[in-house]
Symmetry: D2
Subunit: 304 residues, 4 copies
Amino acid sequence: MAHHNFSPSTYFQTIGSHAAALVIADGDTVTVSTLDANGYDLNNAHQAADPNPMSGPFFIEGAAPGDALAVEIIEIEMTRATGWTRQGLAWHLVDPHQVRAMPPREKIFWDINPRQNSITLQKPPAALKDWSIPIVPMIGCFGVAPDGGEAISTATSGHHGGNMDYRGFGEGVTAYFPVSVPGALFFLGDVHGAQGDGEIAGTGIETSAEITFKVRLLKNRKMRWPRGENETSIFTVGNARPLDQALQHATTEMLVWLEQDYGLDKIAASHFLGMNVRYDVANVFNPAYSVACRLEKSALAALK
Amino acid sequence: MAHHNFSPSTYFQTIGSHAAALVIADGDTVTVSTLDANGYDLNNAHQAADPNPMSGPFFIEGAAPGDALAVEIIEIEMTRATGWTRQGLAWHLVDPHQVRAMPPREKIFWDINPRQNSITLQKPPAALKDWSIPIVPMIGCFGVAPDGGEAISTATSGHHGGNMDYRGFGEGVTAYFPVSVPGALFFLGDVHGAQGDGEIAGTGIETSAEITFKVRLLKNRKMRWPRGENETSIFTVGNARPLDQALQHATTEMLVWLEQDYGLDKIAASHFLGMNVRYDVANVFNPAYSVACRLEKSALAALK
Amino acid sequence: MAHHNFSPSTYFQTIGSHAAALVIADGDTVTVSTLDANGYDLNNAHQAADPNPMSGPFFIEGAAPGDALAVEIIEIEMTRATGWTRQGLAWHLVDPHQVRAMPPREKIFWDINPRQNSITLQKPPAALKDWSIPIVPMIGCFGVAPDGGEAISTATSGHHGGNMDYRGFGEGVTAYFPVSVPGALFFLGDVHGAQGDGEIAGTGIETSAEITFKVRLLKNRKMRWPRGENETSIFTVGNARPLDQALQHATTEMLVWLEQDYGLDKIAASHFLGMNVRYDVANVFNPAYSVACRLEKSALAALK
Amino acid sequence: MAHHNFSPSTYFQTIGSHAAALVIADGDTVTVSTLDANGYDLNNAHQAADPNPMSGPFFIEGAAPGDALAVEIIEIEMTRATGWTRQGLAWHLVDPHQVRAMPPREKIFWDINPRQNSITLQKPPAALKDWSIPIVPMIGCFGVAPDGGEAISTATSGHHGGNMDYRGFGEGVTAYFPVSVPGALFFLGDVHGAQGDGEIAGTGIETSAEITFKVRLLKNRKMRWPRGENETSIFTVGNARPLDQALQHATTEMLVWLEQDYGLDKIAASHFLGMNVRYDVANVFNPAYSVACRLEKSALAALK
């Protein structure tokens, strides 16, 4: 169970079967630097093209199609004192009669202040001059290579993970991805310093970062969609348009999980979900939207 | 500011310009009994046809189109020791290849135990024999008469409110509806003893109840969609299909609210929403889906 | 089989259980005048509020829930030399980045020239100065009262018909509606002098008209959605959002029709539909979108 | 303007920047064999994995990002006397309550009879024993390499074309694709002997074929989506989910086309489209749905 410090020399704008950047073993931890969504590093130097240049891929020894790759997000450290967003909500998220009054979607800069644990607009409008948000870092885009030779743009997401932009993928969370190719080929990047639900401004606080994660292999797991777990919840993530379909996928995946691991048949799982389910709208901006279907572990405790 | 005890003799399956059942004044409180979604009362006697027979309408003196009606939900008391759901998730919420394996959607009964503050299945499958959920009552369907002479089925929802089936409409919440006709004509019913997000089993714990609420008039409010407020949050509710469009409406309504009452222009409101917004998937079962767009009051505090 | 000339004194903006304007018999024909979508008559006098004021309702003797009402559209005569549209495509039908460049949706007037069988813009832009379209009249909004006491806005559509805005509902077509209340209560109006697919400008050529139609009762038909038939095709119409769901409803209704009347089981009907089906996008503007699922009679001939 | 006969030795399940199989010049024609969607050739020998193995890619000399590649489909010859479909409509296209009664989606074989110009079921149900359909061949999947290093599964479609499964892509049609990489890298395959709208059974008559096509380069065309043209129509194709969004893309692309090449501004183009537009539902089965927005050349003639 080695620890690796890895500093990429190449970045990828697609998640696919690219040559491994580093070979690691089940149980290893890695600390890796990531660029922001537009390819800028900790010194604000442009290192790679957008969208969402990925660090990796990491080849996990022994990973085979049908396995699940567990990725524990141990730490996400801000490496730059600035981040950026786009100004204005994404136009498709406001009623059309309002679109004409929306501001142009210019790039806006924010200060990231780790000591105060706060993020503030560099040039706040008067109404927001006293406003700050806490740093709650998350990984916007990560996942494993899809099968069939696909190389999927980091602008979007799917069964393989990708650009889910879910604020639930923060420190202390373990993400699970269905392995589709030998070695899994794990990519990550696009850290956000903070973000609301839905990524409705089209970005989080986009910035460079250093991520420490640990991988574990779960052999022969039948998973179709990314899953996750933190101290209090388990969740599944469906990626598709429209939002209804992302929710349908996430719900189906959770139904299957309850059958697989919690001893519930479809009737029992339906009762349980019907009363306990929580949905998070992860992103409604990217080509595929993302919905998390979540259950509290406190509710699940009654099943054991 | 009178208090009224009201026991309906007629119930309505549409929300429209029906003759007022009771005339009340701005500031009055009302305690009213409601039937369950299939029309059964506290004695399990069938009193009215489904869907969701409504108590009311209450004519609020002085209410005029353009006003908002604030309805504070003071108390929702369970009046029956039983509730019901449908078995199995709604079929359109699981991937089609799973639909064929889903159980038939039979009516299933639950015991409501106010002393233990719990709800339990009458005939639990083995895996759920130790499982209960707390009573967290909510109003499934309530709203005000639409304009233009429409009488909208209580199966669905819209600008006027209606069958939003949002677990956020519980005790301690104030709901706001845009008034469209003189007197507002407020209807309510369809109480659920508990429910998860999305009403994905097609029902909450459907039961009879007694609701105590207080009305207030807000003159000349420009609202297009229902809004709400509790101790910790404000929220708007959009009702439409697909889910994307419900979210679009709710987001637009919140944007307008921030402009109207919080001194933010579209740029400031976009920054604020982008980082702070929370969405609740209220229902994905009814003809119109419902999404709540929510902001924590703690976040809003920075704006004052 | 009487003929009735009917000139309404009242118009309705909802389709519901309003008092019958005229009682007619199975087999009767009616000639009735209709207002344009904004309520203007043949003299451009404002007679009723929008949207889509309806002539009727006609009570058909003997019609009962479970029957189908067949309405043969014998003739649609233009009664005014002018019609109107809105300028610019509906904003939700162009990509959001184009919405800001779209023209405001002003009311624009057209000349209707029955002698030339043409419709021309009153003030054409230079590029359209030689452009005209033929008069191909259609009924935008017609249908029968829904059950459950609903009164549904003529802005939208559903199982009962309503504002489907399908150019396929023209002269020579027989429309079928599922009867939900005694007497069926048939409404009609909102004639368009011409229109493309989808009603993507938000209107057809809106004008007043005189419609001659004949009713027939089909007892005990199991229909869920409007159907239609002309010399060359049969079709079903699904009304819902998103377009996918309207298509799903129309397809399901056609599948059922093939089972009911053409002796096909689900396998045979699927083969037949898979190779022969045609879809028309009727409207993508109204609160409910409409899709027609169509089969050529020449293809159906092979089944007999 | 050479003619090339090309018989692939390798096939691709993604459309991406694979090594060129053949370099051709602007104006060249090519005759190429294609496999069926499951990878079977003219002898029913399995040659490649599904989905939709592609012949190509063809590198067109001089093609550069920003150009359009015109592909004239000169001939599509059936090379096998059999084709296959799946039994039963795709389950997501019928209302959920019908899904449980739908047949399993088994592979079903058809005879292709070029002499009679007909296609018939090998084992027809009794009701279809006299039923045949004419051979109307089309290309299910074709397109050019996307930029950014993406390799997109031939199961789906996008800006680059791909698995649009549009029956409008038959003999005599010229398709236009936006070139994104040097040489364009054109792929094709997945011929259907016939198909209705929407590919609602999930397939057309899947078979091997020999396609003859001619390429032309149009330098510096600003296109975002595939376009096409036949003797009577021009059309654009939008690819996305839900269907609404595919339609939005196709409509926007046609609006731009009318501005670019027909001298219409947005107001004139809107009038013209509003009255003349036709939509074809190309596919509602694949991960991205496809809608064609079509205009008759007879209508366009008035603009010159």
